[in-house]
Symmetry: C2
Subunit: 250 residues, 2 copies
């Protein structure tokens, strides 16, 4: 009965409980609700968001499933923890030595796939490849069984021929580059964006569909400026923050 402009959708593609759950997640994430706090009751949330109590309860159930909150019958629903890992981005960023500030944060990596192929134009330009082939390596990284990020690495195939096999063997890009005789490299540019995870990313990072990924695009170069690796990483935004390393002032 509600007439609307043709082509105008009536909803925004998010169910009511999902929007409520995300709103609560923000309050937990930014400290308005701290671990141990009791969150508003189902009745209160229903009034606040103008939905039925059942709908509000579904939002809570979703957060409970993520172990972000815990409901106790008769007493209320309480914030558990807010475990976000921190990934440092700086001059000598390597995936292997980041993810610190964690008790036992030993990150392990896996090569999912590697391929020799013609690089897309923008990547060829960044790596200064003129007509040659590139190696694309797909990786994923874990800490404590938990998938943290997936990465797409591009290398000039002529510059580092055996890179894919070396990464596969050593489980580390840094070690693989060392095997090719490259002992030092620095990050020359990084840019950060965010978007919804694709279905593939969601499955690799064990996220629900529609979860958010932080996307970093970075270029690593030799100290002399020769581009070495172009890297696109996707982090589960629910679980990581990126910490940017600013230079010291002396």
């Amino acid at each position: 009965m509600t007439d609307r402009l043709p082509g105008t959708r009536v909803s925004n593609g998010y169910s009511a409980w999902r929007l409520i759950a995300e709103e609560l997640r923000v309050e937990i994430g930014d400290g308005r609700l701290s671990p141990g706090d009791r969150i508003p009751t189902g009745k209160t949330l229903a009034e606040r968001f103008k939905v039925n109590r059942h709908t509000a309860r579904q939002a809570i159930a979703a957060l409970a499933e993520e172990r972000l909150v815990e409901s106790r019958r008769g007493s209320g629903t309480f914030v558990l923890g807010d475990a976000v890992r921190v990934h440092r981005i700086g001059l000598r960023t390597r995936l292997s030595n980041s993810l610190h500030e964690q008790p036992s944060a030993s990150a392990t990596g896996r090569v999912l796939h590697s391929e020799l192929e013609n690089p897309p134009a923008d990547i060829a330009e960044r790596l200064r490849i003129n007509g040659g082939k590139a190696v694309r390596v797909e990786t994923s990284r874990f800490t404590g069984g938990q998938a943290i990020s997936v990465g797409t690495h591009w290398f000039d195939a002529e510059r580092v021929p055996g890179i894919a096999a070396d990464i596969e063997r050593t489980g580390s890009v840094t070690a693989a580059l060392a095997a090719s005789g490259i002992k030092d490299y620095v990050r020359t540019s990084t840019s950060v964006g965010a978007r919804h995870a694709t279905a593939l990313e969601a499955s690799l990072l064990s996220l629900g569909p529609g979860a958010i990924v932080l996307v970093t695009e970075a270029l690593d170069s030799l100290p002399d400026g020769t581009p070495l690796q172009y890297l696109v990483s996707r982090f589960a935004a629910q679980r990581v923050r990126l910490d940017i390393e600013h230079p010291r002032i002396d």
Copy 2:
């Protein structure tokens, strides 16, 4: 009829067309689909995502509403543009001088609200406020009529007493600090995360509910290390990427 574990929700809170739209947005964003390209037909998308053609069409309609694609009857649906702005983060990051690489990117700011209040514990600690009050200023920034970010700024009320009025008057944090006799400051730490926009943020940034924001938390300090401003900015992820400035190697 489908029996499921108690408490297990049947859906993920995202409608089918929303997930398809986000998947297509990624393909446009990362260059698999470039401006001018024809995207897969409604029929093809329906088959690929195993939904009805009407559902696939709704995903296209959502992207068309954002002017990301344009449908032409009889011929197909085509990618228009992919206008993302770049915000630079570095040692001397200021909102006013960022958003470059744009033809005429003159950012303008507005103070939405300011308040003298007792700061939350974590913010008091970062600003090294011991029991005193803090000034919280809420701002928003525009480029070309388009809202780009909203910010929450915290200052030590004793250190910079008239800051709120100065920001309101000058429309710029840098200018307001200069009015308080502070002529130079540097960024000492920045961290980046991403999450869904709250309803308030969505309305301020003219985003649909459930859109994604890039959240940066930053601390600005005087050259001697005295903390000056704690700043939480939220950028519309659809429209901006953050570009991290790495130090030159000399």
